[in-house]
């Protein structure tokens, strides 16, 4: 793996997104995701985290505003295989007849010819990615047979196989046990040290300061953004989560952690 890869920033300028049912999900959002760092995206359910992700990835057409990846429009950045996306679990059809290996190989399609016939490099990278997330033994399993944590790791392996320099992960810790969460965090730290730009949305407020260099607080618009130490304050959190006392919030998230599926 190359050690000195170029690092890429994401800039979001005055972004607004309205869904077709006239629902305004994001409003005048401005932020810069610093290159080569891990940025946490925090906000309550329905605050527009996934909407921001989808706008950055170009899945949604914003009604206003502009997004640049290292100065490039999103589509150009995607053609260059710069951007990988790990979807929220409820966006995936887990009953689809594909294996873990098939899914990870889909990360390589952008490098293949029209018929998408994998070469030896593609196969090697898929195996290396599976190895890195510890999913080699599960590669022939249909994706629905996996536990919550394994599902996340399979899609993370796809992002690794794609070799994207920018990786967006939408709630990678939801439905994941503590051990797997730790493992994913370690991998994200490694990837950051290799120069990747990482944006991750999470509800686990307790772990953010352990691995996120920067934090963005979101509720319909961006309420605060900056270094985690500076942004992750009680007042900011209280503002983001709308008046709920932060301590009870923490409690709430820890309770939902306990419900996470056994692996």
């Amino acid at each position: 793996m190359p050690t000195a890869i170029q690092t890429l920033d994401i800039s979001v300028n005055n972004l607004s997104v309205t869904y077709s049912n006239a629902k305004l999900a994001l409003y005048n959002a401005n932020c810069t995701i610093e290159p080569g760092s891990i940025t946490a995206l925090v906000g309550p359910n329905g605050s527009g985290k996934s909407t921001l992700f989808k706008s950055i990835m170009g899945f949604l057409k914003p009604s206003q505003g502009q997004i640049r990846i290292a100065g490039l429009p999103v589509q150009k950045a995607q053609k260059k295989q710069l951007m990988a996306y790990v979807p929220q679990s409820d966006e995936v059809d887990w009953n689809f007849p594909v294996s873990v290996f098939d899914v990870v190989m889909m990360g390589r399609y952008g490098y293949m010819n029209l018929l998408r016939i994998p070469g030896s490099k593609d196969r090697r990278l898929v195996m290396e990615s599976l190895e890195r997330v510890g999913m080699i033994d599960f590669r022939t399993h249909q994706i629905g047979e996996l536990s919550g944590g394994q599902k996340k790791r399979a899609f993370l392996a796809r992002a690794l196989a794609q070799e994207g320099k920018v990786i967006l992960l939408d709630e990678p810790f939801t439905g994941v046990d503590v051990k797997t969460e730790k493992r994913i965090i370690d991998l994200l730290i490694q990837l950051r040290d290799e120069g990747h730009t990482i944006l991750v949305s999470t509800h686990d407020l307790a772990s953010i300061s352990t691995f996120c260099d920067r934090t963005i607080l979101l509720n319909q618009t961006i309420l605060a953004a900056g270094k985690t130490e500076e942004t992750f304050t009680e007042e900011n959190l209280a503002m983001t989560f709308g008046g709920l006392p932060v301590n009870s919030l923490r409690q709430m998230f820890h309770n939902s952690e306990v419900e996470a599926r056994y692996e």
Partner: protein, 303 residues
Amino acid sequence: MSNLIAKIPLVDWLIEPFQYGFLVQAIWVSAFVGLVCAVLSCYITLKGWSLMGDAVSHAVVPGVVVAYALNIPFAIGAFVFGFGATVAIGYIKSKTRLKEDAVIGVVFTGFFAFGLVLITKIPSNIDLFHILFGNVLGISQQDIIQTLIAGTITLLVILIRRKDLLLFCFDPNHAKAIGLNTQFMYYTLLSVLALTIVTALQTAGIILVIAMLVTPGSTAYLLTDRFDHMLGISIATSVFSCVGGTYLSYHFDVSTGGAIVVLLTVLFMVAMVFAPKYGILAQNSHQQLVPVENQAEANKIVD
């Protein structure tokens, strides 16, 4: 020896139809149609486009009539209107706040009704009954050629684009994220859908063609977790039903399309009940396992 076989009435009864060229030909045509539908069926069921398939099949009717009036091949007219309906659906959905199923319902019934009006107004010898229910036993050479061309194009397009189409069905967002043109994939899948319906028009008729597009894929989906196996099972059940249905329809003098779809449906029901992992029986026995285990646990505690 051959004398002996001929004397056995059952064998006689079984092989008698094969003396007729038209029947053998109809069996070949419907087997081919079964193959094409089975392949596309896997993609359509996984994508959740059954309703779209139903829409396209009804929307081709005005195309058939117009093609007849202009004296061009029916396949061209049918394709243009079938594909046109899907474009209209996409356009209306993007411009209004209506849900997709409502848009599909409005558009396809509109096209179909327009076709009915045309059929009754434009003087032609198109038999409405044949359009609605198919007529593979009486298919003309010209129609066979059109069926073969439409089906072959469909198979070639799917063969070349199969990985991208599967990715598009599974995870269109990822397809976009790696820079693929999902708009193009969307229209590719829609056009092969329209072409497949053109292919199956003469065999099943527009009312039943949707069964040929949905049932084989659904049956296969209940039986396996691997796409390549799904494709194989879908093709096997579909070709079997098409051949068997055509043959039986001659023997019992019943509707060919009807016989094919009845066979398809019977196979589906067998899979639904007996499928090893996803069948109703298997699912029930999974559910029963849980209380049994609990009982064992409970007994232990009592002990």
